[in-house]
């Protein structure tokens, strides 16, 4: 459950990160590929080397989607409906991988926010990303 304070904090943080969406997203993806090599199997069609334009574009897409969801967390199912369909019927990424990206996304946030990545922010973000992943997987079966 997210309190109002947590929802505001999440919204504020993602709003602030929107200008560096590509960098944060690419960083999280790179970390995921390095620590969990199985995740690379979903990207054989892209160049996922560090600083590649594919990686930056893809990272940006993901972070902007997360930021958009954060604008109104109570409407997550509505906001994510198109992405739910995409992931369930086309991409078919095993949802266990969502946890892996959530973790490396938290690491990227911790790296960039440093002290500002307080335990409260950490808890709120972890809960939000879990909720995001759960909604994303809803149409799978």
């Amino acid at each position: 459950m997210l309190s109002k304070r947590e929802k505001d904090l999440i919204k504020e943080i993602w709003e602030r990160l929107t200008p560096v969406a590509a960098e944060i997203g690419a960083d999280a993806l790179l970390r995921m590929f390095a620590s969990y090599p199985g995740t690379k199997t979903y990207f054989s069609h892209l160049d996922i080397s560090p600083n590649s334009s594919h990686l930056l574009a893809h990272g940006k897409k993901i972070v902007l989607a997360i930021a958009e969801g954060a604008q109104d967390i109570s409407q997550l199912t509505v906001t994510l409906a198109p992405l739910q369909t995409l992931h369930a019927y086309q991409l078919r990424i095993d949802p266990r991988n969502f946890k892996l990206l959530s973790h490396t996304m938290l690491v990227s946030l911790a790296c960039y926010l440093g002290d500002e990545f307080t335990p409260v922010a950490h808890a709120a973000m972890d809960k939000y990303l879990s909720a995001f992943a759960a909604v994303l997987a809803e149409k799978y079966r």
Partner: protein, 148 residues
């Protein structure tokens, strides 16, 4: 037996050299108790854990965090024999403390996040993270090994 590349050994040793267990340990344990509040079930003897402030200011939490983090020193010094090094601790966590081993994995995640926040992306690079997480995963596995 776990295989470590030279780069991984170097990364782990270098990162460990920078870590202050008295700083990161308490932070990581406090985060575990705050972010995953159900983990508080194992710490009823620690006194006041009722608020985040209470947890972060609790001296028993700080002391235990330091102890747990300091325990990683044994693993760093025995990279090729972590399973054996942690056998007794594993038995203790299973038979005496009755800790669900999934908590080790979650605490390891908290440790990584504290390290990331402390050292930033230039030190905690994707490759350093990989080596560090692999190291923690081996420790976590060793701690769960003697459960039956």
């Amino acid at each position: 037996m776990v295989e470590w590349t030279d780069a991984e050994r170097k990364a782990i040793a270098s990162l460990w050299g920078k870590i202050d267990v008295g700083e990161i340990g308490p932070q990581a344990l406090a985060r575990l108790l705050i972010v995953y509040p159900w983990s508080q079930r194992y710490f009823k003897a620690f006194g006041d854990l009722s608020t985040n402030a209470a947890i972060m200011g609790n001296p028993k939490v700080a002391q235990h965090g330091k102890t747990v983090m300091g325990g990683l020193e044994n693993a760093v010094k025995n990279l090729d024999n972590i399973k054996q090094t942690y056998a007794k601790l594993s038995v203790m966590h299973s038979e005496k403390l009755h800790v669900d081993p999934d908590n080790f994995r979650v605490l390891a995640e908290c440790i990584s996040l504290c390290v990331a926040a402390k050292f930033g992306p230039s030190v905690f690079t994707a490759d350093v993270q990989e080596a560090w997480q692999k190291f923690l995963a081996v420790v976590v596995s060793a701690l769960g090994r003697q459960y039956h």
